[in-house]
């Protein structure tokens, strides 16, 4: 599809090349270099999607809202209110009145239509580049059930996002997290799951035992987490579809925690504490075979695999304070990558592979930051009393993390921030929530 899009876009180019404007011999083209631009949300217009069947008006309006909210929620787009529209398309097939949209400075125009038959729902849309006067990509249609109307909106927004930014989207994704309630010294915790925007929240476990730091499997079908259900911290594996769960048999040790899936989801990387020493291990979920990846007498925990599965970044206090290290996925001598002031923890490798997000603690403040995988170009994105546990959006563009407020009445909430440091905002969770793990884009 991309190829076709490019071909379409290049068609005029070819024409222009074949019929070159008369060139004056003595002067070549004027050459200008633009090295500074602006950083601002791109204005778009999304007239309410057409209801193509009777009674589809409400769902059409709702889906249109989801599309608009997804896009504006990135901070990269700005919705032009319908009250500014000079005209609106009479039908999905109507020609686009580009001048009307240029006049209100809409740079992108999204049109769509919705049809409902029983519980079957179809949503189709088109995206137009207003100033070029051309459609961007092709019309796309999604079919499903009415119960999934939000996902349909997310899918439309993902497609729009992808066509404009050249990167995949992240709207049709879910987040598993720890829902918290009760007083600070007796807090109940349970696993929750929600859409990336905080909608459709559900619980996956009861709150009878402590749970920590869940992690989605690479394809989003399972969740690993630390559970105190047995009385001691152990690693549990939960099947999202059936909500069934089982405990993973780890190596001998009093405490096992900090579990993560391997790249293909077939193994678990985790920490075990024995005799006060914490190291990182790997257990194959199929065969149950274990291997030990670190063996220092210090704390080694919070592992995260690179997206190609070849390396692991983790935290260790072998130097005397918590710092970040990278080693081969099979163990071996690690290289320290964090050298700034303060302590570094909970590293997470980005799905793009180019960055590592982390928690930094320095001078009484906590920060979420990113650095390149060799530790260079460290950049702090947030600052608060207590920020921790970053997780990446499936496209590596946004981070979610836990922000806890101080004091007896304080508690954790989930926030998100663009990796440029912009667009910091709270994700609605209906109460205290922590330790988000952002799942993949759904199929």
């Amino acid at each position: 599809m991309l190829t076709r899009t490019i071909a379409l876009l290049l068609a005029p180019l070819v024409a222009a090349t074949v019929l070159p404007a008369p060139v004056t011999a003595q002067s070549g083209p004027l050459r200008i270099t633009i090295s500074e631009g602006v950083i601002e949300p791109l204005p778009f217009a999304v007239p309410m999607f057409q209801a193509e069947t009777g009674g589809a008006e409400q769902i059409a309006a709702d889906i249109t809202r989801v599309v608009a909210q997804d896009l504006t929620g990135t901070g990269l787009f700005r919705e032009i209110p319908a009250s500014s529209f000079i005209s609106t398309p009479a039908s999905f097939a109507s020609p686009v009145a580009y001048p009307d949209w240029r006049a209100i400075n809409a740079q992108a125009l999204i049109t769509g239509a919705v049809a409902v038959n029983g519980n079957q729902l179809t949503v189709k849309f088109r995206l137009f580049d207003v100033f070029t006067g051309a459609e961007l990509g092709e019309g796309l249609q999604f079919a499903g059930t009415t119960g999934g109307w939000r996902r349909m909106g997310h899918k439309v927004a993902d497609a729009v996002y992808s066509r404009i930014t050249g990167e995949s989207g992240y709207f049709d994704s879910r987040v598993v997290f720890v829902a918290e309630s009760g007083p600070k010294d007796n807090r109940a915790r349970r696993l929750g799951i929600m859409d990336y925007d905080g909608e459709n929240r559900q619980f996956l476990t009861d709150s009878n035992s402590l749970v920590l730091a869940p992690r989605f499997s690479p394809n989003g079908d399972r969740v690993l987490y630390t559970s105190y259900e047995s009385g001691f911290p152990r690693i549990s594996l939960l099947d999202v579809a059936s909500v069934g769960r089982r405990q993973i048999t780890t190596v001998e040790g009093e405490m096992a925690f900090s579990p993560r899936f391997s790249k293909d989801g077939s193994a678990v990387i985790y920490s075990v504490s024995t005799g006060g020493n914490t190291d990182i291990y790997r257990t194959d979920l199929g065969s149950g075979s274990h291997s030990r990846l670190t063996s220092a007498p210090s704390i080694e925990t919070s592992p995260s695999l690179s997206p190609d599965g070849s390396r692991i970044v983790f935290e260790s206090d072998r130097s005397g304070t918590q710092q970040l290290y990278v080693m081969s996925a099979s163990g071996g001598e690690p290289q320290r990558i964090s050298f700034g002031e303060g302590r570094y923890g909970s590293p997470v490798w980005s799905p793009r592979g180019d960055l590592i997000a982390f928690t930094k603690q320095n001078a009484g403040r906590f920060h979420i930051g990113v650095m390149r995988t060799d530790g260079s170009e460290e950049r702090l994105l947030t600052s608060s009393f207590l920020d921790e546990s970053p997780t990446w959006a499936p496209n590596g563009r946004v981070l979610m993390f836990t922000r806890e407020t101080q004091g007896a009445s304080g508690g954790p909430q989930i926030y998100s921030v663009d990796i440029s440091g912009r667009n910091l905002k709270q994700v609605p969770t209906g109460g205290f929530a922590s330790d988000p793990s952002w799942g993949p884009l759904q199929q």
């Binding site: 009878n208 920590l212 009385g231 405990q247 009093e254 405490m255 504490s273 925990t301 923890g345």
Partner: protein, 183 residues
């Protein structure tokens, strides 16, 4: 028989913990997930073994209450540290004596951290603190097989303010006496 006793003791320990913090293990301790090695249905019965129902008061030097209140069931640590202070050692000396005098009891040492740290690191740090206390008790003659450790990281603070006075109370290792003889 021995095996059964061990399991009973363990479950008793859990039940006891559940008494001090009712929500802590809850249904999970008894019903459990598979692979936990805990006898199903055992949990409820052992609630009776808890210290609350034993009728022993803090005045009895052989009672867990005495251990908790008079000897002192906890030691505190400096920021990001797990080394024992002189004061902590003195407390642990008392604990060791009591445990040796009351050899029917087991102990679970809980390690905790203050909120000024990342979650998983604090679990590891709490484990280190609990182990420091355990090692010291062993060095004072308490059999290793009577001592288990667990870390709650920063998840179970007892002081909820966000200033150094509360943090100091939360950086702790607590020796929880578990019933063995009473059952």
């Amino acid at each position: 028989m021995n095996k059964y006793l061990t399991v009973s003791i363990l479950v008793g320990a859990l039940a006891l913990s559940a008494c001090t913090r009712p929500d802590r293990f809850g249904a999970g301790a008894g019903a459990g997930a598979d692979g936990m090695g805990v006898g199903a249905g055992a949990g409820a019965g052992f609630d009776q073994a808890g210290i609350g129902q034993s009728g022993l008061g803090a005045g009895n030097p052989n009672s867990p209450e005495y251990f908790q209140q008079t000897i002192g069931d906890r030691v505190l640590f400096a920021v990001d540290q797990s080394t024992l202070s002189a004061e902590a050692m003195a407390t642990l000396d008392g604990q060791a004596q009591w445990l040796q005098a009351n050899s029917d009891y087991l102990a679970v040492i809980e390690g905790h951290a203050d909120e000024q740290g990342t979650r998983e690191y604090n679990v590891a740090l709490g484990a280190r603190r609990a182990n420091a206390a355990r090692e010291y008790l062993i060095s004072r003659g308490v059999p290793a097989n009577r001592l288990r450790t667990i870390s709650y990281g920063k998840e179970r603070p007892i002081a909820t303010c966000s200033d150094p006075s509360c943090y100091a109370q939360n950086r702790r290792a607590v020796t929880v006496i578990a019933a063995g003889a009473l059952s």
